[in-house]
Symmetry: D2
Subunit: 462 residues, 4 copies
Amino acid sequence: MKKQVKIVTIGGGSSYTPELIEGFIRRYEELPIGEMWLVDVERGKEKLRIVSELAQRMWDASPYQVKVHTTLDRREALPGADFVTTQFRVGLLEARIKDERIPDLHGMLGQETNGAGGIFKAFRTIPVIGQIIDDMRELCPDAWLINFTNPSGMVTEAAIKKFGWKKTIGLCNVPTIAQMRESGNIGETEEELTYQFAGLNHFHWHKVTNRDGEDVTAEVLKHVNEKNGGTPVNIYQEPFPEELLDSMKMVPCGYHRYYFMQREMLEHSIQEFKKGGTRAEQMYQVEHELFELYAQPGLHEKPEQLGKRGGAYYSDAACECISAIYNDRHLRMTVSTENKGALPCLAPDSIVEVSSLISARGAEPIAWGEMPPAARGWLQLMKAMEECVIEAAITGDYGLALEAFTMNPLIESGKEGKRVLDELLVAHEKYLPQFAEKIQELKAAGVETDDEVVRELLRKGL
Amino acid sequence: MKKQVKIVTIGGGSSYTPELIEGFIRRYEELPIGEMWLVDVERGKEKLRIVSELAQRMWDASPYQVKVHTTLDRREALPGADFVTTQFRVGLLEARIKDERIPDLHGMLGQETNGAGGIFKAFRTIPVIGQIIDDMRELCPDAWLINFTNPSGMVTEAAIKKFGWKKTIGLCNVPTIAQMRESGNIGETEEELTYQFAGLNHFHWHKVTNRDGEDVTAEVLKHVNEKNGGTPVNIYQEPFPEELLDSMKMVPCGYHRYYFMQREMLEHSIQEFKKGGTRAEQMYQVEHELFELYAQPGLHEKPEQLGKRGGAYYSDAACECISAIYNDRHLRMTVSTENKGALPCLAPDSIVEVSSLISARGAEPIAWGEMPPAARGWLQLMKAMEECVIEAAITGDYGLALEAFTMNPLIESGKEGKRVLDELLVAHEKYLPQFAEKIQELKAAGVETDDEVVRELLRKGL
Amino acid sequence: MKKQVKIVTIGGGSSYTPELIEGFIRRYEELPIGEMWLVDVERGKEKLRIVSELAQRMWDASPYQVKVHTTLDRREALPGADFVTTQFRVGLLEARIKDERIPDLHGMLGQETNGAGGIFKAFRTIPVIGQIIDDMRELCPDAWLINFTNPSGMVTEAAIKKFGWKKTIGLCNVPTIAQMRESGNIGETEEELTYQFAGLNHFHWHKVTNRDGEDVTAEVLKHVNEKNGGTPVNIYQEPFPEELLDSMKMVPCGYHRYYFMQREMLEHSIQEFKKGGTRAEQMYQVEHELFELYAQPGLHEKPEQLGKRGGAYYSDAACECISAIYNDRHLRMTVSTENKGALPCLAPDSIVEVSSLISARGAEPIAWGEMPPAARGWLQLMKAMEECVIEAAITGDYGLALEAFTMNPLIESGKEGKRVLDELLVAHEKYLPQFAEKIQELKAAGVETDDEVVRELLRKGL
Amino acid sequence: MKKQVKIVTIGGGSSYTPELIEGFIRRYEELPIGEMWLVDVERGKEKLRIVSELAQRMWDASPYQVKVHTTLDRREALPGADFVTTQFRVGLLEARIKDERIPDLHGMLGQETNGAGGIFKAFRTIPVIGQIIDDMRELCPDAWLINFTNPSGMVTEAAIKKFGWKKTIGLCNVPTIAQMRESGNIGETEEELTYQFAGLNHFHWHKVTNRDGEDVTAEVLKHVNEKNGGTPVNIYQEPFPEELLDSMKMVPCGYHRYYFMQREMLEHSIQEFKKGGTRAEQMYQVEHELFELYAQPGLHEKPEQLGKRGGAYYSDAACECISAIYNDRHLRMTVSTENKGALPCLAPDSIVEVSSLISARGAEPIAWGEMPPAARGWLQLMKAMEECVIEAAITGDYGLALEAFTMNPLIESGKEGKRVLDELLVAHEKYLPQFAEKIQELKAAGVETDDEVVRELLRKGL
């Protein structure tokens, strides 16, 4: 019998943790957890306490004896870990509020994984991933890093290419959700269909065949614009132009809406902002309610409400991936991993999000072949932008950050875009030591945001 | 002694023809012209008459005996041609007015070689280039096609890759102007410096070294934002952010302004539009004045005014290129030609605009090597977009046209962008037989532009 | 329930057919065969009769009712076929004798799938595959072509790239045998290990991991030189230099012996030849004995002797592959299929032999990533040679044939190699109509082989 | 006026130095030499004296005052150097004798730049180039390294890619000789023709056009097999098969004979060897006579005899290249330089030998585009082999050396090839410190060569 598994979850105080616990409980027979560690930072201490107590109650209500440990020092948790999962958010929800409000204020998309917000999430997260890997190298050199911190693709690329942790797999719930919904939409079960995904995290396409090998993508495309079309609930469901779908002959992911219907998505984002709340701020309330619920001593299962959030199925995907590795299952799953030629239009050492086989070997990407010109051009642009972002995240190179901003299709190029970059740098100062010098310079020049909410957060030292 | 040369100029009635004539006169000793044919269409008949008479007067005032022929049937002119130059504008200035006004009306950039306007110029021009090549194959199978009809890069790609005319070279005045201005700006003569250009037409970068081989690009970059920075006069001179220039370490071309300072360039375009005139409409007046001048029997040289236009040096570049081929000169010149690996980030059979050696062999591109990530991503996006445009131009595939529109950084994606596509299709119906079916469908659905100027043109059957 | 399957086997009179029948019988519950057609040529009529009668007896002895049809006209068999398997040998064993004897006579390797022999097998086979595909296009446009006619990689490349039959999969028994033997050699079951193969048919490498994801390739390599090392029995078991194995860190396939220990393999080939028999001639006897056995009315199962031949497991691999397609099994199997980037050092549209998933979608190659320099160089050379061979096979271009001969590492370049080419062309005249003109020219110049056995065959009109 | 130039020649005692001096004298007006240093090793001291005295006499007989310095310590010579030329031979002629005799003894090609000999020349030379570059980095950080030590391509790749000296240009006389001879053969002057070369050092092809741009390659090919076909005199002139030339449609270089007519070239090599002398040994005598001549105080010009050797025009090419850099001439010349995409079938950072423009910027390769399959495969194989050789030369990795030997088309794979590797390692022990450990092991196992000449050299400590 294989040995019991030690799991360490960085960002363990997240409201999504109960989904993770539930996933592990459901799979206990195939994936015997020995020990579970939830790690968080000082500011997340209270949430960590609430979540870990719920987690323990969930295990206790199960047939299995698993102890949930907590710590604010990841070095205490890591020794001997088999799997380290990362689901932390540097700067917590307040950072997301800044990522969303500042672009909106300047008439650009305020969104946490795309556009300016996504770039800044990468700037804050990548250095921390580097530190976690430093610790892993020392304390659990054989562990797998299962990342679902966004922007998952860039974080995974940094982990593998820059920090050299080959045993990293990046996860996302977008492919999961698409598969669940689309099969139902065309009257098939998920098992009857084969999905092939290829592209980048939050920027991929897929094709679908049925069990006779017939391409049913066109049929799936007919339902993409429906309410249950397969797009995560956190994305505004502006319909794709039908002629575009017909011409692509591949199903775009939900996030493509930001790129293909930019004006509509932008208008919606600004409208929300003006109505007084970005998505991040709505989350405040949702999170608050969830934690109230979690704190109830009578609760010992994942509450239903959690499943309605944009991040649903993320944690379950993580459990599934971990089990597939542990059990050498050769499971077909869409993950962020090294390209290895699967998408010949990108470099073999780039990280891509593609259908892969997950086994004890890790992820083996399934070769997709050449993309049609439009998708190829989009992917090459986005990957180049990602490379600039990752390099800037590590070096603090302002010029590269500006190049990334200039290329990013969701950020207006020119003075206003640069202004957004500068305001975000100043607003996130606390979490961007690599840019310290430039931020001082900007502050000396009087750069600060006019957004009242952000100013208030800064006044509070957040 | 080599044989005398026969030149055929398609679009001979252009106001730029006198520059071409001047160029040939100045080079007569090295490039002995035997015969010159100016070809135009029925609607350009009067201009053709005026220009050809001026051309003949110019030759007559020179020491050389050259007869300028005119015809409205290119098949009369082509037999035995050594060089065919193309400088025609399908639909004349009225088509440009539509290309510029309709996007402007919808809050997008109105410009004739970039964005929506550039795509439609390709849609109208590429099929005609195909017809010209069909005629050349039959009537002058050894002739060189020297194209300076815009969008020069896409037209050249269509000519070489799609219509198979390998002996095509695409020209542009942008590199010429940069070289002239920049050398002066850093206190050097043009001869002292070596320029290496690489990229796509209206989307390239260059580096500069001095005669000691030292890279003086940084010095050149210091002057790029100056009035005489090297950008053609027809482009609004919004300054590039200095940090962007420093980070790129290459000189962007003037047209990069549209991509790197999009909001400012857009605002300027809309402002002009609201002030009552796109650039095309200003050209009406300029052209009118030029032709009045040309018609004066006393004029027998290229008038100075011509040199102040955006298209200056185009024709001179053509003369230089033709002479370099004829005299096997191995002249270093920046042209649109087959990539052949010069830019490894693009396919070897793509057309690129790079420093090349021009000789009797045609253009031999000088290998540039790998581009830094941002430039690489931009180029790959733009080339992919060009491929969609060219394919749509030939097949009339609406879906591909929409994909090109969606990718193009200067066109807003979503309903509004699609609306611009549809209005332009309807507005250019006369010159877009390949899209006839779709245009009928759009018209049946009531698509028409609200722009009064364009509506007036359409009412006049233009 | 899925419909019953119609199988057509071209070259049905082969001595390997009983293995195929056995494979289908064993899988009947998952792969319900409705009809089975064995097709062969006039010269193979008698063998076809014997084999088909045995086949029918085998089915009759099984619990299943399947009718075995025979025909000498494939057009009679093809209509409505679901799977067409190809296992024919153009020119029968006599052609193989020529392929082996003529190179041997000139001191070069005489082998039927590598070197000069392999090239000529391709020359004879590829045009016939083209004709079969023409018929399939007309008569069974939805059928899969499962090719195991050698040289399987080149034949598959011709079928997919040149004749456009995308639904082709090429099979080989070499990976099967390696997996069976190697697992045992290191004390594991085949199921415990994961094999990843990549390369070309008869020229690939693989790596092995155990169920904990640990790379056990080094351990496998320790046994490669053993009697049961995993190399097919028809290859002389000259040991690989240990330092070479250690340096490669991948397991070479058995056929690499010809390339890595060329002198030893050559000497063995010549020795056999001098002892009076190439492998082909030994096969004569073996085949004779097998058919005597097959003809016995009491036999109604695959005789044991068949399993000891070099081609064992080929047919079983075919059954497995067909079942995986029919049942949409997503089975991991090593096949010849379109690269699609799986090996980034080769073109995406090249055919490669790689670990793939076999399902109703056909073969999906698993991306391997970059090869180390030596393996990369070898593969690129061999693929380039294959391209020349395939092109020459279709066009009859003698210059390309000579280029292929000159590149092929197993053929000496220079006059002697060219002589081998010429003698083989003349010797195979009957099956090489595409080279007819050149062969006439060679014959006029007096080219004929000195090999007495081959001369005797030619005298007999074989 | 530009400053005077300081030249340092490593291996200054070479018999080719007078050609270099002559070249500098002839170009003095355009390339004013201030100082000239000839550097050599202790064992070459006497030759250095003789050559340097002749060199000084040559300068003294010219109108120019140039002082020729000598030193056995390159660190004395390097400070302030503008150009460092390398023409040294590690181990002198005795090393070449070993490179040639040992393979011959085992029935393989004995040649100093191809096959086993070329690989060992790389093993001895590359580490020394690394040391020279270390010194240059410290003492003359702006100098150009003009390498003509063979194998020039691999040495240049090591210098640029491995040791990071971007300002390196590799030279060879093969393209020079081809251009000189071929133009005459087709009745043209060299100036009338344009040559485009591409490939690797001693493994390239070229095409030729006339001043009308017409491809005259086919005409040139007609003369390739003639005595004056363009192949250096040191290569045995076995004719290429005509059908091969016709099929390639490019002119192969002289060294291709070893690969395309391997048996004939090998036989010739063995014959020479058996007749008692490899080329190296013939050189002994030639060198002896040359140095007797050089020592005559009355000689003050390059003696005619030198021009008849295989290495003729090497030094002149170096002078031409240096002058082109100094004078920023943009001279078209074939050199070894960074690929940068010029040959898309090889990596952009590989070193290739291609037609380039030589100016103060260094070498700018002219893009060639895609190679036909056969040439592509050959180049990719050879480059992969070079990569293994270079890596082994730096690291002393025996496995990689064996992989290179196994791939090299001129070395038989298997035991005998390995034996050649082992004997050469032992024979060259003195100059291969990187392989010291393995050599000890081989010696302990009793490996030594049977060649008497080599044994005698070893007994003498050479």
